[in-house]
């Protein structure tokens, strides 16, 4: 796809993002703000993980530092400092950059799993220290502030916050994209692919990594400060492992090999959690399952698959692929239905409410309600349905995949045939 077409696509997307939100209700506007923030955070994370090949497990640290920096500046503005509210994320950027320089200096001394561990330790250090530093992080309750009006813009409505967020996310997202086009951006990719050669070419690999780390932390800081502006509050839980984990999940499900892949993951996960977190308590389980399945069967993520499809769209024989593809999708949906059914059934049967009702029913298994239908725990249909869904869906999926492989003339699943641990096959 030519870069002109990418730009046209981006322009359409931007137009939609500008034109649609005024017609949405408040909760959707809020969800979109979260989507934008998660997208920027994932892009920043992927600069390090996908492009420099440095897998950080503690990016929550820079996200949180950005949020706290912005809040401190907001408090100062509230107390009369003349600082334009729309530029508040600059505080997050500066704090993230500085924290990234320091943390990056130590973390990038090591590579591979050691790097992941050091970043994890730094984030945990902050997470365990923050509640005790009441002055900076406000103890366990955290700190809060108010958005102050600036030049007639009140920043009272969610829509104004949304446009502010959109502006900053677009700016930083395009900035990060432009960065990958610079010579230093190419050097970042070289660090991932062959650090030895980078050294032999005369570059200071450590210094380059520190700079990449700091830039990634800076963009994370901007994302964090946008969250602080939208929520007007933050506490030490921003440094928690789940925040770091979320961005890892989103980035790799979205696809770390394609620049805008992480945005796909961030959008999907944030929207899904907005839509279904009221319906199920098992959302994190599904997230983990999706992540592991993507890792096992599609390591390039959703973005990687889309990219491959678009790139090969002329070589692919769509007339012969359409049917097996449809069959695989149907199989996948049935399989997903079976898994969701079993998970939700387990959630009900092992839940506290049901345990209480069982003790009320004197040992018998009372019927329960799920998806708006009543079920018998020992009924045949209750367990026949998931069995049919799983077996039928699995069968369709396997058959569909086999046909697709046949059409594309590819050996089935080459990764599975590889020697398990680098020995002889």
């Amino acid at each position: 796809m030519g870069s002109m077409r990418i730009l046209a696509l981006l322009a359409v997307l931007l137009a939609l993002l500008i034109a649609v939100p005024p017609f949405l209700d408040l909760s959707w506007q809020n969800a979109l703000v979260n989507v934008l923030i998660a997208s920027l955070f994932a892009l920043a994370f992927n600069l390090l993980a996908g492009q420099a090949g440095l897998l950080s497990f503690g990016h929550a640290a820079y996200f949180g530092i950005g949020a706290f920096a912005a809040l401190h500046l907001m408090i100062a503005v509230e107390d009369g400092l003349a600082f334009p509210t729309p530029l508040l994320p600059l505080a997050g950027a500066a704090a993230g950059f500085l924290a990234g320089l320091v943390a990056g200096y130590f973390a990038t001394m090591r590579s591979g799993v050691y790097f992941a561990l050091v970043t994890l330790a730094i984030a945990e250090l902050l997470h365990s220290l923050a509640p005790h530093l009441a002055g900076t992080f406000g103890g366990e309750a955290g700190i809060s502030s108010m958005r102050m009006p600036w030049q007639g813009i009140v920043f009272g409505s969610m829509l104004e916050v949304y446009y502010l967020t959109l502006g900053w996310v677009m700016l930083c997202g395009l900035g990060l994209w432009a960065y990958t086009r610079t010579p230093f951006g190419r050097l970042t990719l070289a660090l991932r692919d062959n650090e030895q050669r980078v050294l032999f070419l005369g570059y200071d690999a450590h210094r380059a990594k520190v700079v990449v780390f700091a830039i990634s932390a800076m963009a994370s800081g901007v994302a964090g400060s946008l969250l602080a502006i939208s929520n007007e509050t933050a506490n030490y839980s921003l440094f928690a492992t789940d925040v770091s984990a979320q961005v890892v999940l989103q980035t790799f499900v979205g696809g770390s090999t394609v620049f805008f892949g992480p945005v796909i993951g961030a959008t999907l996960f944030t929207l899904f959690s907005f839509l279904i977190s009221d319906l199920t308590r098992s959302w994190v389980f599904y997230q983990g399952l999706i992540f592991v399945l993507v890792m096992l069967f599609a390591p390039t993520g959703i973005g990687g698959i889309l990219y491959e499809l678009v790139r090969h769209r002329r070589q692919l024989d769509w007339s012969r692929l359409a049917w097996p593809a449809l069959q695989s999708i149907l199989g996948g949906l049935l399989l997903a239905g079976g898994i969701v059914y079993l998970t939700e059934t387990a959630a009900v049967l092992f839940g506290q409410d049901y345990a209480m009702r069982r003790s009320g029913a004197a040992g018998a298994l009372p019927p329960y309600e799920l998806f708006g239908i009543g079920w018998e725990p020992a009924g045949v249909l209750t367990w026949l349905l998931p069995a049919v869904l799983l077996l039928g869906g699995g069968g369709l999926l396997v058959a569909g995949r086999r046909q697709i492989d046949g059409v594309r003339g590819r050996r089935s699943a080459p990764a599975a045939d590889a020697a398990p641990l680098g020995g002889t096959p």
Binding site: M109, A121, S128, A415, L421, G423
Partner: protein
């Protein structure tokens, strides 16, 4: 004196528990280069399996079944999941185990609920080993420590004194050569992974009855275990024993000490200046005891990146 002795005892037993979990992790890393994020989840899984089994068949049955079941889970992971992502490099293996850790934690929440379960040691183990400074010292703490010591001795004997140990060590150093000599290396790897997981499961089964058993126990201990393994030197069994004891002692002593940086500056007459700064300066050691392991890890990485006992960088 009382504080020092009790803290030492508690620190050593906690350190030995840390060692039980980290031994498997460091063995697996040393051999395959896979840093298993799900390792602490195996520890949690062990505690929950032991809880489920012991509520029906008694404490001892739980102690036996938990490591076996967790070991089997570990072997399945090594045999069927890790090879699929191996071609994409160590980062993907790390990510896969990270996803597995999430799934195990959420499955536990699904079946046992997002709250601590009532997993208790049996009544006949609930007695005091001895009385020290007027208070009883629970026997079970010594039991945990004793298990770890026995385990270390067995592991060490197995690795250094038996034929199996020689094959395992050969497979660690030069897998291709060991395979050329006719040893079935994939099976060795699977067995080591399973053993490591089983050890973590055993640790969970033993410790879960003393410490709270809840869905967060894996994550909480997991990060500390990573610290142990890095401080000790990835792949070194002796190193991880040393680091476990060090961190166990550090955290048990820190809880009872109200030292602060301001106090340190006070020794050279700068106490008031430090107190005026506040923030980090006046933080008491007791309130940052959870922070110390991470600070120690960063220090080790700066001063001696290979870890205390690590040979390789």
């Amino acid at each position: 004196m009382e504080f020092a002795i009790v803290s030492t005892l508690n620190g050593v037993t906690y350190g030995l528990l840390l060692f039980m979990v980290s031994a498997g992790l460091t063995l697996i890393f040393g051999m395959m280069g896979v840093l298993n994020f799900a390792h602490a989840s195996f520890y949690m899984l062990g505690a929950y399996v032991a809880y489920a089994v012991s509520s029906a068949f008694g404490f001892l049955a739980g102690l036996v079944v938990a490591p076996i079941l967790v070991g089997i889970v570990g072997m399945l992971v090594e045999r069927f999941l890790l090879p699929r992502v191996h071609a994409h490099g160590h980062a993907h293996e790390l990510l896969l185990t990270f996803g597995l850790a999430l799934i195990i934690e959420e499955l536990i929440k699904l079946f046992f609920g997002d709250f601590p379960v009532n997993y208790q040691m049996p009544g006949d183990l609930r007695f005091s080993a001895f009385t020290i400074f007027g208070s009883d010292y629970p026997f079970y703490r010594l039991f945990i420590g004793g298990m770890a010591v026995v385990m270390f001795a067995l592991l060490w004997l197995l690795l250094t004194r038996t034929r199996t140990g020689i094959v395992v060590r050969a497979a660690e150093r030069l897998p291709a050569m060991a395979e050329a000599l006719g040893h079935n290396i994939p099976v060795v790897f699977m067995a080591v992974f399973g053993t490591g997981a089983a050890l973590a499961g055993l640790a969970g089964a033993v410790a879960g009855a003393f410490y709270p058993t809840n869905p967060n126990m894996g994550i909480e201990l997991g990060v500390i275990v990573f610290v142990v393994v890095v401080v000790g030197g990835l792949g070194s069994l002796k190193g991880s024993l040393l680091a476990s004891l060090l961190i166990g002692l550090f955290s048990s002593f820190a809880v009872g000490l109200d030292w602060s940086l301001a106090g340190l500056f006070g020794l050279v007459g700068l106490g008031d200046w430090a107190r005026a700064i506040g923030g980090l300066m006046t933080l008491k050691l007791s309130s940052v005891s959870a922070t110390i392991p991470f600070a120690l890890m960063l220090l080790v990485l700066l001063v001696r990146p290979a870890g205390l006992m690590g040979e390789r960088n």
